[in-house]
Symmetry: C2
Subunit: 225 residues, 2 copies
């Protein structure tokens, strides 16, 4: 060998993932299925948001859910209890979902029977932000008890999302969570992102979120360039 060959494993993995994500996006587009990738820390309220959204939209859209967890089926059980089909991906240690995992979940679903698919990613504010799953839109949840400084410490997730949902606003009274400051920082980091303030416990703000979702689904696929 005349020259050193450098194999950057990390870049290769990300690039292979990206290629498969594009294939998935095309497949969903052909089936007119709008897929969302929902990401957040553990306990920020991903499952609760999906459950509340199902309750508000299940008469308008045919919904399915892909649940990603390292272990356990508890989230899938909550989804199925709402009368919506769920595919549970057990990652067995992996800290995020990638395109091959999503492909294997989609292979088990008849895509002609869905309008809207939620991916509930593994609870992690770091790794999932790097992996394209083929979803049309990326949504992140930040819950009030986590604190408003998370945007400084985990900027990638905040910068890649198409919408930021501030959940658990019922915890705002007595909290030092500064919503105007967070909105200001989002203006700098990710100006186009939509921001919603919701409480899955009280129902506050869920109508705005669902209204945005309706609009996105109706303008799909023109809203994914």
């Amino acid at each position: 060998m005349k020259e050193i060959r450098l194999i950057d494993i990390r870049d290769e993995i990300l690039s292979d993932n990206q290629n498969l994500a594009q294939v998935i996006r095309q497949r969903l587009l052909e089936n007119r299925v709008f897929m969302l990738n929902l990401m957040a820390s553990p306990g920020a309220g991903k499952t609760s948001l999906i459950v509340e959204t199902i309750r508000l939209l299940k008469n308008e859209f045919r919904i399915g859910v892909i649940e990603g967890d390292i272990e356990s089926m508890v989230d899938s059980e909550k989804i199925v209890a709402e009368g919506v089909p769920a595919v549970q991906l057990r990652t067995g240690g992996a800290c995020h979902l990638d395109a091959p995992m999503i492909e294997s979940a989609l292979d088990t679903m008849d895509l002609s029977t869905f309008d809207l698919i939620f991916i509930e990613n593994v609870g992690n504010l770091v790794c999932p932000a790097e992996f394209d799953t083929g979803a049309a839109k990326k949504i992140m949840i930040l819950s009030v008890p986590e604190g408003d400084d998370k945007i400084l410490k985990y900027p990638l997730m905040f910068s890649v999302c198409d919408a930021l949902i501030i959940n658990k606003t019922d915890y705002l009274p007595g909290s030092d969570f500064n919503i105007p400051l967070l909105r200001e920082r989002m203006q700098v980091l990710n100006k186009p992102a939509q921001i919603f303030q919701v409480s899955c416990r009280t129902g506050e703000g869920l109508d705005d979120w669902c209204q945005w979702l309706r609009k996105e689904i109706s303008s799909y696929p023109n809203n994914i360039i």
Copy 2:
């Protein structure tokens, strides 16, 4: 080549890390420095716990802090404001701290001037659990707003920790967080782990935690086998 050679990169990385962690542990032992690796989701209260512990123990022990963050120095600034030296490790994307990072932090510290060093790991309930940093003890924090089901979904972190701190107990009233159920599940998964219930906001339970820490520091190094 007569046979296929399998190189398991992941296993190699973990094994190299483990070897260096042992070197670090020996070095700390020779200097009689007790090091804790503090792990939790984003926003569970790692920095708050360190700050409160500093306030309660800084007249008894010479304390230092190694702060791990993907971006920003906000946590280090809070530590330095308490009159305690901090080393900020900026991981630039990496989702956990590993032994080489800790070694590079320790290289900047005069170990003869410390009794107790806290590592504040990157906010992540998944990846940090896999990497030995050379710390004498691993501590995890779970905050009440995250929910009691996290032990089912992120079992590795709960099974590797020497102590589990349930933080933000001031959020318990009106919450469905089931402490007896969590304690029961810990009995099955990780019986020897100590469990503390604290609120860094109200100060509840911090005395018990500090009492345990005093005991661990006084019996060190006999408590690490």
